[in-house]
Amino acid sequence: MEIKIEGLEAKIGDTPILRGVDLTMKSGEVHALMGPNGSGKSTLSNVVFGHPSYEVTGGRVLVDGEDILEMEPHERARLGLFLAFQYPVEISGVTVGRFLRRAVEIRFEGQKEVRTKGFLKDLREAMDFMEIDQQFINRYLNEGFSGGEKKRMEILQMLMLQPQFSILDETDSGLDIDALAVVARGVNKMRDHDFGALIITHYQRILDHIKPDFVHIMYQGRIVTSGGGEIVTELEKRGYDWVRAQYGQEEEVHE
């Protein structure tokens, strides 16, 4: 799968947030996306998935050559895209087990009979792997989960749904060292030539577990620079000031 984002612009209300994002990613690759708070990283994930709060004002998002911007969110998901949310919502009254069973059914509709059959076995295995207690099967999705449990639950879903491309929006934030290792293990389990990921993060530590092939820095709604792991080291050392100095645009001030 190839995802090609070209000149993507989006606004919320009257405020432009994405101001021309260009980014190409393929299965088999792991990309990291970094950038200061408010630079537009989550907006990019939401826009790729078609969140209704954002209006796309320019550009394209091509998945294997096909523009997906006219598709509904669930149609995009069914292409094999997955988004691990920065802040997963709580779905009251819907148990993890029931939710995942149906999600797996939708994902593998008509293809992998076997998968839905062995669902519970797969689920239990995946939960073990993610060190999530089996009792969570009967809990309402994310309701009352701790921050770390929610993040693990996102990765559990990814393991069950076997997407071809995942965007992980700060899945590492708020995790202790052990939880971070578990989450990274989940992602690494998926890693092969058929799977790609965009890891949005503020920290080097997850990238020590999941080595990215490419690192991009977003600033004020654009990807301002890209490179390899050395950028991360640079950021850890120097913060974002050099990015601001080098790429910052004078904010237009209306007062």
């Binding site: 209704p52 969110p73 069914r78 988004l83 819907v94 309402y140």
Partner: protein, 448 residues
């Protein structure tokens, strides 16, 4: 006894006196009807000037336009020996006021459990006079007198003057019954008033579950005016869950009053789906220390249905707990009203009480009123209420969509999920039925 007049039809509130006179009932019972009639005659219909009725205007009803009749004795008597279905403690099925099938697990019967149509119960107990009346009869009589005494509106008094049929469930001391008792009411006819009266009496340490279903024919206007009186003895536990689903031309009025003694427990549930107009009140009186109550409610009015449910958690004793959770989804032009009162008397120290009401408005034009109220006359209590009214959450729909769920399916799942915390703790026998009713009302609003 005037068996010959049983089954005669009487019209409206004006026919109440003749109706009472025609009934083959023992004197003690007739007296309660007459006492109710006297108070009834002296009272005005509740109007919207009274807070409890402010959002439910009944001024357009012509209560003289409905017909009623008492239960046919023969119908009930013929059915008394039906076999009890496996997994049930007993079942009584009514068509209109007539009990057409009655069953009770013979083991339970032999241990003193009484479960029978009210008409039969009162006949059997009519021979007894004065001090020799049975414990069960005395309990029933006390409940009626208490209810007539406490009745604060004309509809309730109308009920106690003119109830048409009903059930007595009496459970002796320390009898713990696992299987549930089922009450099926099937209403039909046009311009018919049906006024069932249900008694549930649990002696000390008894344990029981009752499932009540009120269904109606697809057509015809029925006016239901029911009353459920529950007595929960020391350490006894009762679960009583009612599903109301009369047709859209009908009206439902009713009250449930549960008295809970020391360490007693009540789980009450109501799911209101039917009727153009519903006005129902559930009262739980915590009369003994250590008793507790859980009140669950589900409503999902559509079209131009009006549903007004009121709960009252009354703490008359220390160290009691009461929780109410009412959830409503409101569609089309419908109107949902929930009024919840927590009343803590001077004796109610160390009370733990809360009530929660959540409403989902599924489209513009749907209306929800949520009126929680606390009246607390002592210190040292933990009381709170919370209410929310909102729409289906777009971020939740988006989350599900990001997992491949179509927006329609996502909305349906969220709507089921909204009710699920309540549904999941109702009797299993009702869960699928209620989920199906919720599903049947679903219309996607496509908020993505």
């Amino acid at each position: 006894m005037k068996n010959n007049t049983v089954g005669e039809v009487f019209t409206g509130v004006d026919g109440l006196g003749d109706y009472i006179a025609s009934l083959p009932e023992p004197e003690w019972l007739r007296e309660t009807r007459l006492a109710a009639l006297e108070r009834f005659s002296a009272m005005d219909w509740p109007d919207t000037a009274v807070e409890e009725w402010r959002r439910s205007d009944i001024s357009s009803y012509d209560f003289n336009a409905y017909n009623m009749r008492g239960a046919k004795q023969s119908a009930a008597a013929d059915s008394a020996d039906s076999q009890v279905e496996p997994g049930l403690a007993g079942r009584i099925r009514f068509e209109g006021p007539d009990a057409v099938a009655t069953s009770l697990d013979p083991d339970l019967a032999s241990q003193g459990v009484i479960f029978e149509p009210l008409s039969e119960f009162v006949l059997q107990n009519s021979a007894n006079h004065g001090g020799s009346i049975s414990k069960a009869t005395r309990a029933v009589r006390d409940l009626i007198m208490d209810s007539v005494h406490k009745a604060d509106n004309k509809l309730k008094l109308w009920h106690y003057a003119g109830w048409t049929h009903g059930v007595v469930l009496y459970v002796p001391r320390f009898m713990e019954i696992k299987n549930s008792f089922v009450l099926d009411f099937q209403e039909s006819g046009d311009s018919v008033i049906t006024a069932p009266q249900i008694f549930v009496v649990l002696e000390e340490g008894a344990r029981v579950e009752v499932i009540q279903r009120v269904h109606g024919a697809d057509e015809g206007e029925v006016l239901l005016n029911e009353s459920v009186d529950i007595h929960i003895g020391d350490g006894a536990a009762c679960r009583y869950v009612a599903l109301h689903n009369l047709n859209i031309d009908s009206s439902s009025f009713g009250t449930t009053l549960a008295r809970i003694s020391r360490d007693g427990h009540l789980h009450h549930g109501i799911a209101a789906f039917g009727s153009m107009f519903t006005k129902y009140r559930i009262d739980a009186e915590l009369n003994g220390p250590g008793s507790d109550v859980l009140l669950d409610g589900i409503y999902y009015p559509a079209e131009d249905q009006h549903v007004d449910l009121r709960t009252v958690q009354t703490h008359f004793a220390p160290k009691c707990a009461s929780h109410a959770l009412y959830r409503g989804a409101i569609r089309d032009e419908a109107h949902g009203v929930y009024q919840g009162l927590i009343y803590v008397g001077e004796e109610g120290s160390e009370t733990d009480a809360y009530l929660t009401n959540n409403n989902l408005l599924l489209n513009d034009g749907a209306q929800a009123d949520s009126i929680p109220c606390l009246q607390i006359h002592t210190n040292d209590v933990k009381c709170s209420h919370g209410s929310t009214t909102g729409k289906l959450n777009r971020n939740e729909v988006f989350y599900l969509a990001s997992r491949g769920f179509s927006p329609e399916e996502a909305e349906e799942i969220l709507l089921q999920g909204f009710f699920e915390p309540i549904v999941a703790r109702l009797p299993e026998a009702l869960q699928e039925e209620i989920r199906d009713l919720i599903a049947a009302r679903f219309v996607p609003v496509e908020i993505l």
